[in-house]
């Protein structure tokens, strides 16, 4: 029965992927890519990956679609009907690579096998040692923030660098647009948005601080927190949104998150332990782990939220400066 549900969702993914290849209308392609992300998130839930499903739904189905639509408004809606240089050669190469890969999967252990090499070494040791070393229920958060903290530090720096990259490519001094357009244009949307935005912010904070006890954590919380600002900017105009948050402050905050993460590591080093060794942060090592994880996830959440806000506002103000209506 489970295998049937897996096959149905995977077949839907295949159908969406084939539709993306064939369609020339880029608006439909971007929407289908959002559907693809949401179907993948559903599949991740079936595979017991709650944190990953949360992140994929927020990022792949939410932010990615939004950014592509904003870029699409500046580049043009339809792909030209001309085809590529040599489509048959590309098709042949793709079929050959696919055949090689499928031949390579025949030696893999079947999915769900508890004795496969993936599931018997380090992964399972984390499940056994988390209650003793760190004592939080969400093992994924423990591994992400503590056991594999270096990788997460690299990831936060990558997000920060992406924010800098987008700023370097697309930043323009914003036009001083007039204030909020008249209320009677979008009454229903504005009323509902005003009801929802505080709840979205609160939910983002809940996901941030509850990430050790259930699915959640810094990334998902940052994206959810930023999406409240996107909603406000889309409905009330970019000028009104700029009055709500100061872009200089957001840029400072994006660097502050990385600084918090690095400082936690430096404090550990100054106390004589290794970089990012949270046992040094308090007298009791388990308390030290808890402090370290909270601070580190806070840094991640702050950076992710501010970088998402920076990217969206930079794209929107570029689109506005070109003269398209927002």
């Amino acid at each position: 029965m489970e295998a049937t549900i897996h096959m149905i969702i995977l077949s839907m993914l295949l159908a969406v992927a084939i539709a993306i290849v064939r369609i020339k209308d880029l608006f439909a392609v971007v929407m289908l890519a959002g559907i693809y992300g949401l179907l993948s998130a559903t599949f991740f839930v079936l595979m017991d990956a709650m944190d990953v499903a949360f992140t994929e739904a927020a990022v792949g189905a939410g932010i990615s679609t939004l950014l592509m639509l904003t870029a699409l408004s500046m580049t043009g809606r339809y792909a030209s009907t001309g085809s590529s240089y040599k489509p048959l050669l590309a098709l042949g190469l793709v079929v050959f690579t696919g055949a090689m890969l499928i031949f390579g999967t025949t030696d893999l252990p079947s999915i769900g096998d508890p004795q496969s090499p993936v599931n018997t070494h380090v992964g399972y040791d984390y499940l056994a040692t988390t209650p003793e070393d760190i004592d939080i229920p969400n093992v994924v958060a423990a591994v992400l923030a503590s056991y594999r903290g270096f990788d997460t530090f690299g990831e936060v720096v990558v997000i920060f660098t992406a924010g800098i990259g987008v700023l370097a490519l697309l930043m323009r001094t914003p036009l001083n647009t007039s204030a909020v357009a008249s209320m009677r244009d979008h009454v229903v949307l504005r009323v509902v948005a005003k009801m929802l935005i505080p709840l979205i912010l609160l939910f983002g904070l809940y996901v941030q601080f509850h990430g050790e006890y259930g699915p959640g954590g810094g990334f998902q919380a940052g994206v959810i927190f930023a999406s409240a600002f996107f909603l406000y900017a889309m409905l009330f105009g970019l000028g009104a949104a700029r009055k709500v948050i100061n872009m200089t402050l957001v840029r400072l905050l994006s660097a502050l998150g990385v600084l918090i993460y690095g400082s936690v590591g430096l404090v550990s080093m100054l106390n004589g332990h290794n970089f990012l060794d949270y046992n040094a942060l308090a007298a009791n090592p388990i308390d030290g782990q808890h402090y370290g994880i909270i601070l580190v996830e806070l840094g991640v959440g702050i950076t992710v939220a501010s970088v998402m806000i920076i990217i969206f506002f930079t794209f929107s103000s570029r689109s506005q400066n070109e003269g398209d209506s927002d």
Partner: protein, 107 residues
Amino acid sequence: MLTHYLSWGLLVLGGFLCVSGAIGLLRFPDFFTRMHAASVTDTLAAGMIMCGLMLQAPSWIVFAKLVMILVFILLTAPTSGHALAKAALHSGMKPLLPDSKHAQGGL
């Protein structure tokens, strides 16, 4: 026992509404009627499924969370349908009325 059968009835009804909404999305002649089918799927079917799950909730905290999700769905799904219809009307699409000569295709 009654809650068990009631929750299964609500879940099956929600599933049927999902399927009928999907069929409507494919078969209706006009954008606005199709959007109505999608909006019904979003609001009513999801609401029925939530109510069915609420009757099966194992603890009060799960029940409270499901109530909050239901309120959120009831608040946002009709709004998104409204936003779609408003955008379509704003971009010039006219509804298919019984006396109009041609159907508004596309989208």
